[in-house]
Point group: C2
Chain length 289, copies 2
């Protein structure tokens, strides 16, 4: 059986055709433009491929509740062209196949749990730190969702005492995303992240915020592994700083060999999958979702 997979991102869509063994057999990357331009390209790619189901991991907010009338509809995303666009229904109706939808970060968590750096455990958290901050969680065979999908990037954090930057989030100003995503780094320090690579205080502050978030995620979710990806995490010096801050913040409260100086570098890790993570996760969704 052939299956379709879509990784719908803010800057690009990755389209794939694969099989039940999880192999991607054909792939195409297209830019994210207005739906009137992007969607016909998606249809054109899939329409003669003979797929029987389609999995889609999408940027959000997106309705992922299968029982909802607006399943697969984009919600009030900052990408204004896509607000209220019924992506799921359009694909289902045009291609004539069932479409299974989850968030991009939930799909990435599932992909890492199946084929990546969490394949030896039953639970994991995937967090991306880039233009925005988002996270998805995989627990014992399913991704975490309920009322809606999690929006973990918008949690409240304590301000760093040296930070006077007011934050970029239009909803909450200085939530985690508002003070620790890529755009806030650039606005606070006046340069892009990669131009700040040698400035220690930049990464100490960034690690302080990200470690607070991870500490809360550990207390609330207790994942067996945390995978950190996204553009900002290409600054590899962040990993040891974040790990050190997490251990200090937990202060020995949670008993686990992973949460010790010796093993925390096996607990907070970069992704194991690179370019195909999203589209492979969407393929998994098509198979099992």
């Amino acid at each position: 059986m052939l299956l379709g997979a879509i990784e719908a991102g803010g800057t690009k869509f990755v389209l794939g055709v694969g099989n039940e063994a999880g192999e991607i057999l054909d792939k195409l990357t297209i830019p994210t433009e207005h739906p009137e331009i992007t969607v016909p390209k998606i249809i054109a790619f899939f329409e003669d491929k003979g797929i029987e189901r389609l999995g889609l991991g999408g940027f959000g907010p997106i309705d992922i509740n299968k029982n909802s009338d607006t399943y697969g509809k984009l919600q009030k995303t900052p990408k204004v062209d896509w607000v209220d666009y019924p992506l799921g229904d359009v694909l289902k109706d045009t291609l004539g196949v069932p479409v299974v939808i989850d968030t991009d970060v939930n799909v990435a968590a599932m992909s890492e749990a199946k084929w990546g750096n969490a394949k030896d455990v039953d639970t994991c958290l995937y967090i991306t730190v880039g233009t925005g901050i988002g996270a998805g969680a995989y627990f014992h065979g399913q991704t975490l969702k309920g009322l809606s999908h999690p929006e973990m990037g918008h949690i409240k954090v304590q301000r760093h005492p040296d930070d006077t930057y007011r934050g970029t989030c239009p909803y909450h100003s200085d939530c985690l995303e508002g003070i620790a995503a890529g755009p806030s780094l650039e606005k606070r320090w006046g340069k892009k992240g990669h131009e700040l690579a040698d400035d220690a205080k930049v990464w100490e502050m960034e690690a302080y915020y990200l470690a607070q978030a991870l500490t809360n995620y550990i207390y609330i979710l207790s994942p067996e592994r945390i995978i950190m990806g996204g553009g900002v995490m290409k600054q590899a010096q962040l990993f040891p700083l974040i790990r050190k801050n997490v251990l200090e913040m937990l202060n020995g409260y949670v008993s686990s060999p992973y949460l010790t100086e010796k093993e925390i570098d096996q607990y907070i890790v970069p992704p194991g999958l690179t370019d195909e993570a999203g589209v492979k996760g969407a393929l998994y969704l098509a198979i099992h979702g």
Copy 2:
């Protein structure tokens, strides 16, 4: 088939015998003393009852990982007599039946999801605010656990601008439990919670902290209902204050009819089950765990 159920709390143990329909047929409450006193009473209650399995919802930290060598062992609980006590193994070996273990708050979440105020949804969070603060989550048939069980009471929160109290948590000083559990109320204001019932500023500050926690839980877990129990929540004036603060903090970011002024009183609610919640949840654990 007869099944045993234990709600192991910090001040009392509730012991029950029930059936697969979820009915409690026999019950006994005993105080939580030294294990050498309490455990023989538990054995005496169950040994002639003919139970085939036993479920236990216990205070923590407790090892709830079924694959662990120390499954069912108490960890570094503030109840020093119980530290490292292998409660699960003692009951299994003495009574000769399988023992299924989860935390008291996970069991309460499951119980509310099956028989209480979350029986119409598939996911819920149960939080208790009393001597300590703990929470458990139920998602699509299972309670949330991974590396260990969640310890949601220990998350970081932003200080209220008028609060100079340094906090009671021996691990983190001013984590949520350290500044919002019953003992911190008493130490900050010099009186017990129920003696402060008419002092508006007490409950405004308390609601500010609890609403921060709920806001983070909503962003991270997205439960379909939040149930708030425990001694501090007997101050019913907290509910409208917490609901109002949660809506202000979310600021419309999460799309759901529940997260509106009109419906939030159906989203953040008191428990539906009273005295038998813990022991009924433990019975459910014995049946399905």
